[in-house]
Structures are given as structure tokens and as C-alpha cells.
Symmetry: C2
């Protein structure tokens, strides 16, 4: 080793030891006769001390070191005069006796500090320098720790990690596949997996009983903010289980992770039906760190000649505790918020329940105080509370109020990143109608689409509805939601080949298409498939949640930007004609 110790480990007990350290020059300070350098590595920062009285030549050498030079230094550990309590090595410094420059460094395009001056694009291009910042590195250390603890928990529960193939077959029923032309089989393609779904089900048919994998998945989507074309899942499957067993097993995993990684005890997870989540939060991934549930007001407010309410399919509101004192300016901000195009409400009605017991609303023209009292009763509002109400078409209004609820939660400080509220949302609909989802092939529009995936089992009591009212069929499907983020989801699978065939039929597959794409799975089901189910966690998202960040990109070592481009290596890029020819393909670039 080129060092005897790391830059993070020397303490007062090491005084008088001769040690060798390696690292990067974080910064240097020149104080007349003394020069101090902060030497950094992954493990910490150690102060190096030089003095013209001790060794003039060495001091000059030290002064010539610029930021980010890589050096090896040898010296004696001495006690510091002015100790730094914020640094674990702050009691000591190194009285250096020799320096060797291992590599020099150009001046970085941004400072390697916590408060860096680098913009997003610059930091993506020089990701290898951004990764030197300790906050970014700590995110990846956290990711490592979560992965190790996940594996240890699942290993103890008899899960086997099995690697499934990356070069598989295109099954365009879901989102778009990335494909890989085959050189050996001209005109044919592999596809990259959107998930190992079919393989993990085959492993259950094989009797593997409990499977998991921390695995890369791929989806060729029009990228939204904070989506990546390649992402990582904790993918799991179990045999001979019912939904209850899966919920308990993976509630256990999440509790284990919170306990071992964050030292937090999570209480038993509440369970909420999809229907209730939509009714009370307007959202299938409610942030339950705070209450502020939806209150439906149709029966309370209609018939008073206020056209906006009278014409609305749904009038629904929330009660913001203690917000009655909001100023006109704050209320205007909220109105602007809900009217933003991505939220799309036409206006906001509010009613202040003042601390003196009076109620004042933005629609006093239509509602007298007595009527407003009935609103307060419906909201269970107290003096000091603020009632916020939206009206319009049901789905759109629910969605808009959900956004307003989250905004109010943030404004009222109810969404602390160090508080964690976990729940299961259950009983999802089996199907949804595809009106032309841009992330699906155009040829799939105008038919039913599997909300989870085509292998999800309907609830037995709803199977009869499959032929009469497919949209009403509930699935044995569940999501784990933490702080308003969908962290994982899964389902009990269909293990009966006839029911699976019926599902493909409802999804608009001809028998031939189903056989061509999923024949191997349906055939496998003929040889003794056990009842089984599973789920997958979004690993990038889980890491960002644990790290208290909204951005998954901060938890991926080498992420791509929103256009799916790796700015650092400049990919995708053109390939040579020789490569194209060997692959029997030609590019056809549409004219601008």
C-alpha cells in the first residue's frame, strides 16, 4: 500500500506515530511561516502542517501544490494547537517530513466543495469530479449499505438471488423495449428487460420458492424529470403464498432497512384500499405524514345558485389546521398554484374559520355564515383553520386537490424528510383504458391495458366482472408507499393457464400473438405452476428516500440526463459503417 493510514482515521491516541497518507489537496492556507494543507480521501480529511522553521524547502514544496493534486506524504502525528471539533481527525495534524506528488491536476471546472459553484450540466459532464464531493459520495455509500442489508435480510429469509438474462425477447405489450440487433442472426433482435417478470415466474414454476435480485431494468420512455432509461429494482417472488404473506415479508424488509441503515423503528404499516386513497387523498400514493384528508361537499354546498359548485361533478376540499391567518397574498399564491396549467383548476374557494368563531369565505355572496358553519362541521374544522375547496370534473379535481394538499403540507412544515410514513395501498384496479399513452406503441391505443402487468390476478370475487365490466375488476395488487412516493409494488400472479389466456384476450392479443410472445410462459404453466406472487422495489427511489432527496439522479453513480444522454461519455453516439454492416442494419434518419 502507498499509505499506512487513511485520511479519516488518525486520532489523539496516534500522536508521535510516523505515518504515510495519500490523497487529494482539498485546500491550502499560507499563514506567514506556517502552511496548512487539508488532505482528502474517501475516509476523511487530515490537516498537514509545514513550517519554514522546520524545513524551508518542504514548505516551499507544499506551497506549490494546487487544489486536487494527488500526493503521498510521510510525517509524524502531532497534537493540534487549535482543535477542530467538527472533524473527527481535528485533534491532530501531520508534521510532514516528505512529500511526493503522485499526479498533478488542472484546475477543476467547479470547486469540489459542498456548496459548489458548478451548474447541473457542468457537473454531469465532469461527473467524476462531482463524485468527489462528499455529499454525492455519501449517497452512493448509503446505496451500498441498503443493498447489503437487503441481501442479508432476504438471504436469512431463504430467498435465493438468481441472475436472469439481460438479452431477452421483445414483448411490446408494455412500455417500449430497447432492442439489440443480433449479428449472428440477421434481421433478429434481442430486447433488454423492462423487468425480469416472466423469468421470476418461471423460477417459481421451477420450484425455486423464493427468489430475489437487485437488477438493472430498461424502459425506452420519453423521459420525464427524474426518470432514467436504465434503473435498478429489488425484484422478488415467492411461491405458496397469499397477498398477506407478501405484505408481511416485505414490510419486514423495509423495517429491517430503516432499523439497520437509519436507526429508525417503523410501526406496523397501515393498509389502504385504492378506492380510499383516491377518495381521501386523490392519489394512489398518498403522503400520510400528515392528515388533511379530502372532504366531499356535494351534498353540503349544492343548490345555492353558485354555478361553479352546482355544475361540478365533484366539490371537494381540505382543512388546513391553523392556517386561517393566511394573508390575502398567500391565498392568491395558492389560487395561482392551482391554476397552473399542469394542475389545471379554474379557481380556488376558501373559507377562513377565524379564531373569534366567525367564518369568512371567498364566496360570501352565495353562502351566509350559517351555511358556512355546515361546511366547518363537514370538515371538522376548528377556529383558526382554513378550508380550501375545488370543484369540477371528478378525476381532474381530485388530482388538483391532491397537489394543493401536498403544497399546503409543505407550507405548514408537515413533510419533514426525516419523518417516515409507510403504508400499503391495496386492491388496485386490474385494467385501465389506454387512450393513447405516449409511452406505449401507437398500435396499442384504444384497448384495455394491464394496470400492473398482464400476469396480475384479479380478485376471485371479481372474476365474473371480467366479461361484463372489466374496468371494475380489482386485482390482487399492492403498492408500498412512503411519504407520498411509490417505493414498490406487486401482485399475486395468475397461475392458471385458462385465466391467463382470458387476460390476454381482454388485453386484445390474438391467440397467435399471445403464443408468439408469451408462449413459453403459458406452456410452462401447463407443467405444474404453484400459486405465487411478488413485488419489486424501485431501488434508486428507495435510496433517494433514505437519503432525504427528491432526485434519484443524486443516488446513481453515472446517470443520464433527461434526454437519455450520458453527458460524460457522450452517448449515444454514431457507430461505424463496418459495425452496421456486420449487424445487417442501416440507419434511416428522417429528414428535418
Amino acid at each position: 500500500m502507498l499509505r499506512t493510514n487513511t485520511c479519516g482515521e488518525l486520532r489523539i491516541s496516534d500522536i508521535n506515530k510516523t505515518v504515510t497518507l495519500c490523497g487529494w489537496v482539498q485546500k491550502s492556507r499560507d499563514l506567514g511561516g506556517m502552511t496548512f494543507i487539508d488532505l482528502r480521501d474517501r475516509y476523511g480529511i487530515t490537516q498537514l502542517a509545514f513550517n519554514t522553521d522546520w524545513d524551508k524547502g518542504l514548505c516551499d514544496q507544499a506551497r506549490a501544490l494546487s487544489r486536487e493534486f494527488v500526493v503521498q506524504v510521510t510525517g509524524t502525528v502531532i497534537e493540534r494547537e487549535s482543535k477542530n471539533k467538527n472533524n473527527p481527525t481535528g485533534d491532530i495534524e501531520l508534521k510532514v517530513s516528505s512529500i511526493k506528488v503522485l499526479n498533478d491536476a488542472k484546475t477543476p471546472p467547479f470547486t469540489i466543495e459542498e456548496d459548489t459553484d458548478g451548474g447541473d450540466e457542468l457537473r454531469m459532464k465532469y461527473r467524476y469530479l462531482d463524485l468527489r464531493r462528499s455529499s454525492v459520495r455519501k449517497n452512493l455509500e448509503l446505496r451500498h449499505r441498503i443493498a447489503i442489508e437487503t441481501r442479508n435480510y432476504l438471504d436469512k429469509q431463504d430467498f435465493l438471488e438468481v441472475e436472469t438474462p439481460v438479452l431477452i425477447k421483445s414483448t411490446p405489450e408494455g412500455a417500449r423495449d430497447f432492442v439489440v440487433p443480433s449479428r449472428m442472426h440477421s434481421g433478429q433482435f434481442y430486447a433488454l428487460p423492462q423487468s425480469p417478470q416472466t423469468f421470476k415466474q418461471l423460477l417459481m414454476v421451477s420450484g425455486f420458492d423464493r427468489y430475489y435480485q437487485i437488477v438493472k431494468c430498461f424502459r425506452d420512455e420519453d423521459l420525464r424529470a427524474d426518470r432514467q432509461p436504465e434503473f435498478t429494482q429489488i425484484d422478488c417472488e415467492m411461491s405458496f403464498v397469499e397477498q398477506e404473506d407478501i405484505l408481511n415479508t416485505f414490510e419486514g424488509l423495509v423495517k429491517h432497512l430503516f432499523k439497520t441503515v437509519k436507526g429508525v423503528d417503523i410501526p406496523k404499516l397501515q393498509r389502504m384500499t385504492y378506492a380510499d386513497a383516491m377518495k381521501y387523498y386523490g392519489n394512489d400514493k398518498p403522503d400520510t405524514r400528515f392528515e388533511m384528508k379530502f372532504v366531499e361537499l356535494n351534498s353540503v354546498v349544492k343548490g345555492q345558485n353558485f354555478k361553479v359548485f352546482d355544475d361540478a361533478e365533484l366539490v371537494v376540499g381540505i382543512c388546513a389546521k391553523g392556517a386561517a391567518e393566511y394573508t390575502r397574498k398567500q391565498l392568491d399564491e395558492l389560487t395561482e398554484f392551482v391554476k397552473r396549467p399542469q394542475i389545471g383548476a379554474t379557481g380556488l374557494v376558501y373559507a377562513r374559520y377565524n379564531s373569534d368563531g366567525t367564518i369568512k369565505s371567498s364566496v360570501d355572496k352565495f353562502y351566509n355564515e350559517e351555511q358556512l358553519k355546515t361546511w366547518a362541521t363537514a370538515f371538522d374544522a376548528q377556529p383558526g383553520d382554513l378550508m380550501l375547496i375545488l370543484a369540477g370534473a371528478k378525476e381532474k379535481t381530485q388530482k388538483a386537490l391532491s397537489e394543493l394538499r401536498l403544497e399546503m403540507g409543505s407550507r405548514l412544515g408537515l413533510r419533514d424528510k426525516n419523518t417516515f410514513s409507510c403504508l400499503w395501498v391495496i386492491d388496485f384496479p386490474l385494467l385501465e383504458w389506454n387512450d393513447g399513452d405516449p409511452n406505449l406503441l401507437a398500435s396499442l391505443a384504444g384497448r384495455w391495458h394491464a394496470k400492473h402487468h398482464p400476469f396480475t390476478s384479479p380478485k376471485p370475487e371479481d372474476i365474473a366482472l371480467l366479461s361484463t365490466d372489466p374496468g371494475a375488476v380489482r386485482a390482487n395488487a399492492y403498492d408500498m408507499v412512503i411519504n407520498g412516493v411509490e417505493i414498490g409494488g406487486g401482485s399475486i400472479r395468475i397461475h392458471n393457464k385458462d385465466l391467463q389466456a382470458q387476460m390476454f384476450d381482454i388485453l386484445g392479443f390474438t391467440k397467435e400473438e399471445a403464443q408468439k410472445q408469451f408462449g413459453f410462459l403459458m406452456n410452462a404453466f401447463e407443467y405444474g405452476a404453484p400459486p405465487h406472487g411478488g413485488l419489486a422495489f424501485g431501488f434508486d427511489r428507495l435510496c433517494s428516500l433514505f437519503g432525504g432527496s427528491d432526485s434519484i439522479r443524486d443516488f446513481i453513480a453515472f446517470p443520464k440526463n433527461n434526454a437519455g444522454r450520458d453527458m460524460m461519455i457522450d452517448s449515444p453516439s454514431e457507430i461505424s459503417d463496418e459495425q452496421l454492416k456486420e449487424l445487417s442494419i442501416r440507419t434511416e434518419i428522417a429528414k428535418a
Copy 2:
């Protein structure tokens, strides 16, 4: 859970308990009034007992169950009359009180037994059934265990597992890349990584200090037997180290794996230079479970008018201990063996050192007994030994004798799968001349090619040779070899940008090509790159070695065949015109 216990856990201490088991019908035996069924799951086999006297209806139900039906049974644990000592559950059986068929099963196309009647192709097509065989499942359980122990060891040594991207950039300097057309960037392509080489080096530039990953890699090769287009590596890198540190750290890993997974203590690994490996074993991955080293005979045998030897660049042999009694037929077999086209020797010379002290050779016409004694002295042969000698061009003869040595090792029982001999081969050549390797693009023929990869550092003392005799330059590169199999390899990297530029120059890259393909790495080296190095283990190969098998395919859940095809899912396959159009590509199939 649909069961209270697994099929592997009930013991004599469970007698009288009422339990529920789930599993597959392995086989059933009908003995008049009694019926016995072996119920199988991942954990074991439990015998179910039925008796017409106990319950006629249930007995009839049991008799109707065919092989591979999936059932749930409830019953009482009872002591068996005739115990089966070969089965951990063999002391008990289940007196069944109810059966539920969870799924039926068609008759499998081959029997799910250790000695199956299924051929290779059939078992690949129905891989999900082949995986039910306990030997195949045990291979994957072993793989899981090795992965867990690898992670635990490296985690304790402060290595961080960091996921590197799968969608990267094509760098056709090595083997062929698999590429992925980009939909969002018409005419551009991602490539799948042949290894995370550049990314792990960037992580060292980032100060990650110790990195590892168990990671899928991809190589579009003309597949040889037992190669897979996608394969798994244990990929590692360390900073501020010298070769010695890497050898010690990963020797530690392999010792840990042997100890924890197989209960075997491995002695300190010997180190052998590449030059010695070639000289004494004719092979850079010598099987050192047995000696039988090469003995060069040029000075011993030449000048006796035996043209074959006189004209040969190299005359070299091995001494097979105790094989002097080999029959004429056995010796003819060996001659046929070395004359096979893939080995390519023109003939084999042998000399028996008989137990009576006489020596008889196949070239007695040219050499008298006294001369043959000098051979025996060269070989350090004893009475009872057999000397086997090949002659011809150096490289070809070494290769042929290496094969013969392995064959003799096998014949003499010196290659026991449960004996492990591990060593490091060091000081590999830096470069090799590419005469037209079919696994490289044709445009790369007729130039130097990096033997390890373009980032491998030359030995400092050989750097001067780079400009005068590139082929003689030795690298700081090393392979770990176990039982004649290359299990891992790596190198100390170049961390100096000028030396790296010189390497690209020698490899025939123009400055522009080097900048285009590796610019991000060379740029990174300008901002303070630490000395670093690493290695990668072939994880599939490591698992097969631990499992005592020559085939990696047995240790991959869903392998591809030698044509790179997944027989089960039938991939690669055609994709739709809609997909091709979105990707801006067209297939161009060459006419037959």
C-alpha cells in the same frame, strides 16, 4: 402461507404434529392397500402415506395424482416403519387427512430425476423443468452463496459496490460490442459494456478508493463451446496500491470463499511468471494440481541424424510417473490424441524407463540406450516412468504438449475435482500482434493489440522498450489460475495521461480516434488520477469450478446455446415494423 412447513424440515421430533405441506408430486407407489407419494419442494422430499383402511376416498384421490401435479396436503406426522437413512426426512411420513390439487401438470417431456432421459436441447427448451432437478438447483444455490460471501468479504474490506451503466458507448478497440439503437437520438447507438473498465477507473479518479460490483458484461463473439454472450464478473478496483496489494487482497477473497463455501483451507498462492508458465507448462493457465513439468531437450537430442528432432525449433517432453507399463494400444491412443487437428502435432516420441532399468524408445533406430539414459537424466525420470516428447515449431509444440500433459494428468487421476491448486501468473506481455483475430473487427488486423486492455501499465523497467521492441514489454498484469482455469485477471493501470496517449498511439489509434472514444477518461486523468489497479473474476467460471463442473452453463439459470440463442423464449427474434421505424433503422438481410 399455504403451508406450515417445507418438505425438507420434518423430523422424528415432529411426530403427532398436524402440518400442511405444498409441493410437486415426485413419484407415487401403489402397494395394494397402501399408496405412498414423494412430495418435493426446494427444501426436500417428504413421504405422504395413504391407506384404503384409513380413508378409501382419499386413497383414490392420491392414486389419481400424476407426476408434477402441485398439491397442498394436510396430515399428521407419523414415524415410518422402514426408515430411509438417505433422506433427512426419512424417519417420518405424513398420514394425510386432506389433499387439495393446486394445479395439474402435463407429463413433462423428460423425467425430473438426477439421471434424466432429456437431451441437451430438450432440457434447454424446457429449462424451467430442468431447473426442477436438484443438481441444477443446487448449482444456483451455490452461486447465490458465493455471491453473498464475496460481498461480505469485500464489504468488510471497505469496498463499495457501485453500479455502473449498462447503456454506454461503443469502443470497438476490443471484442465486438452489442449495440442498442436510440429512439430519441436517430442514427445513434448505445453499446452494452464488455466490462465496466473505464467506469471503475473513473471511480478511482473520483476518490472512491475501493470499488466492486458483481455485474453482467456482454461480448458479441463467435461463440466457442462454453462461452456466453452475456456473462457475470466480480469486478474490482483499488487506489493507492501496488501489484502486491492487489494480489494479497484477492488471494484473501478466494481463501475466504473456499473456507466459507467449501470448508477448504487454501495455502498461500504461488506466483509464476508468464515466461515460466509457458516454459514449464506451455500454457498461461497451468493446471498445477500435478507437476509433470516440461523439459526442454534441444541440447540433449539434437545431432543424432533424427531429422524430426534436428529440424525442430523445439524438442520438449514430459515425464509421466509410473506410466512405463502403458500398452502399445495406450501409446497409440496418445499418438492419435496429439495428431488430432485441433492439437496438430505430427507425431509422438516416447521412451519407457522400464522397472528393470532398461530404456526402450520409439526412436531406438537413432538413439542407443546410453543416449536414452541422458534423456532420463534430463527428465529426472525413475524406473517405471514414461517419457513423452514432441518436436516442431516452438509455440505450436508447447501448445500441443500442454494438451498432452493435461490428458496424461487426467489418465493418471491427477486432476481430482475436489483438489484445488491456485496460483498467480504474473508479468504478462503488454501487447500481442493481431494477425486477424475473428473476434475483432477486420479493420483492427495487422497492428498491436493490448493483451489485457489498453489501460494496463507496462513495467517501469520495460517502458524504454515501448518504442524499440513493443512485443517484449512486460505488463503489471496478473491472472489467478485455479486447476488450469483462468478465474480472474487484472492489472495496475496507467494513471499518467502521457503514457496513456503513447499506448493509444502504439495500438494504432489516431489522436482523434483516441479522443473520440476515450476522451472522457483521458480528460479525467488531467484532474488528479491516483495510482490504481484492479481485477475481475469470471463469476460463472468461479461457480462452475466450486461446483466441480467444466460447464458454466450448468451454473447459469437461463443460458443461451452456442449460437447465442435462448431456446426457451426463442430469442433473438424479429421485431415489428412499427418498432423498427421508431428506431430509424432498417434491416438488410444479405441474400443467401
